[in-house]
Symmetry: C2
């Protein structure tokens, strides 16, 4: 049997969806491909590399054709769209958030690219470099944290505990309100995101004067777009 790298990654993702992250095993991937476990090591350095590649695929599904801010567009709409897609990417596959978080910002190539697009879009929308970075860091951290909770398996005994601890009045009240007003996880996510975006908007309004260095960066970036390099 002859296999190649992409097959390994895609069957690993198939197993992820079917059996969860702890079911993703090199031996099982090998079995699915009708190959001995050792064979995988010709295509992949180790299990972590496979997991990193899986993370990149999950992100690519949402961001492969994702464009930066268009001149007329509102930055807040664009930023929210970016966050919605990021959440979608993490939710699309079982334990997706854990997979991407496990790969880490460092190892996931797609995330670096997304950072590039985001920060330069916000610079174009009049953000200082600092605030553009803060907007990136704050929103993406939020998305990560939110989805990780969201995807955490409630586990069998969580329900037992919920019953037992009736004294937790807040949890009960919150859940009742959610039912009555039909608030979904989606609604919670979007509202929280809106809170953050409102905070960012406020910061942006307060710092309409940019440091000169930021202006430099903005110019340097736009020249780099059509010219080549320009070493410092």
């Amino acid at each position: 049997m002859k296999i190649h790298r992409e097959q390994i990654i895609s069957t690993a993702i198939a197993i992820l969806d079917r059996d969860g992250l702890e079911g993703v095993t090199l031996r099982r991937v090998a079995a699915e491909l009708q190959v001995r476990p050792g064979a995988l090591y010709w295509h992949v350095q180790n299990k972590q590399e496979l997991l990193d590649e899986m993370a990149n695929v999950l992100l690519s599904e949402q961001f492969a054709h994702f464009e930066g801010l268009i001149p007329g567009q509102e930055w807040s709409k664009w930023l929210q769209e970016m966050c919605l897609r990021l959440r979608q990417a993490l939710l699309a596959h079982r334990e997706g958030a854990r997979v991407v978080a496990g790969a880490g910002f460092g190892r996931a190539f797609m995330l670096k690219q997304l950072l590039e697009i985001t920060v330069s879009s916000l610079l174009a929308a009049g953000f200082s470099l600092r605030l553009a970075f803060l907007a990136w860091s704050t929103t993406t951290s939020y998305v990560y944290g939110f989805v990780i909770e969201e995807q955490a398996a409630p586990s069998e005994d969580t329900i037992r505990n919920a019953q037992r601890l009736q004294g937790e009045s807040m949890v009960v009240a919150i859940q009742r309100e959610k039912q009555e007003k039909m608030y979904t996880e989606d609604k919670d996510f979007c509202d929280g995101l809106e809170v953050i975006v409102d905070g960012i908007r406020q910061w942006r309004a307060k710092q309409l004067i940019y440091a000169e260095e930021d202006q430099e960066v903005r110019e340097q970036y736009s020249t780099e777009l059509d010219s080549g390099s320009r070493e410092k």
Copy 2:
């Protein structure tokens, strides 16, 4: 050799700090306690239960004696203090964020308690039930996401990639600014948190009228504090 539950948990945490999360193995914990692996199963149902307990200990170290909002105190200061402590709890031990995230909001008892304190504190500060929950959800998601990134091992080849991809102008510019202005991870975290708190403040200012149900909840809670139960 005779052991008890707490010893198991504390030596597991010791191993976590020494060898990282993947070093935390029931067999290694057993060896450290001079006991056969099977012996642990009398004190603990399975490995996940041990991990859950570890998560609770990490959180308890910061929140065991954490008080709710004091009447005179500003809610924003209190909320920020809560978030700082949460980050501290996650940072205090190697891969702490992964441990707590792995346990999940459902399984970590301490987190439910913290939710109770937070939401009731914000209600007391004039928040609607909805906004109090949003403030909780948004800030804690942010903290989680931020620390998970923060603790993600950069790995050997991240540096290689950083060198190779010089085209990433934004990453370079951001890192240069951080060095020049001496922005630390702490600074990034606090600024991002401030952005979120500013967003929350704005929402609070806009909804000074509460729904009657919220008022009900607030009253119910305060009576529950000194009286006993009051079933609906």
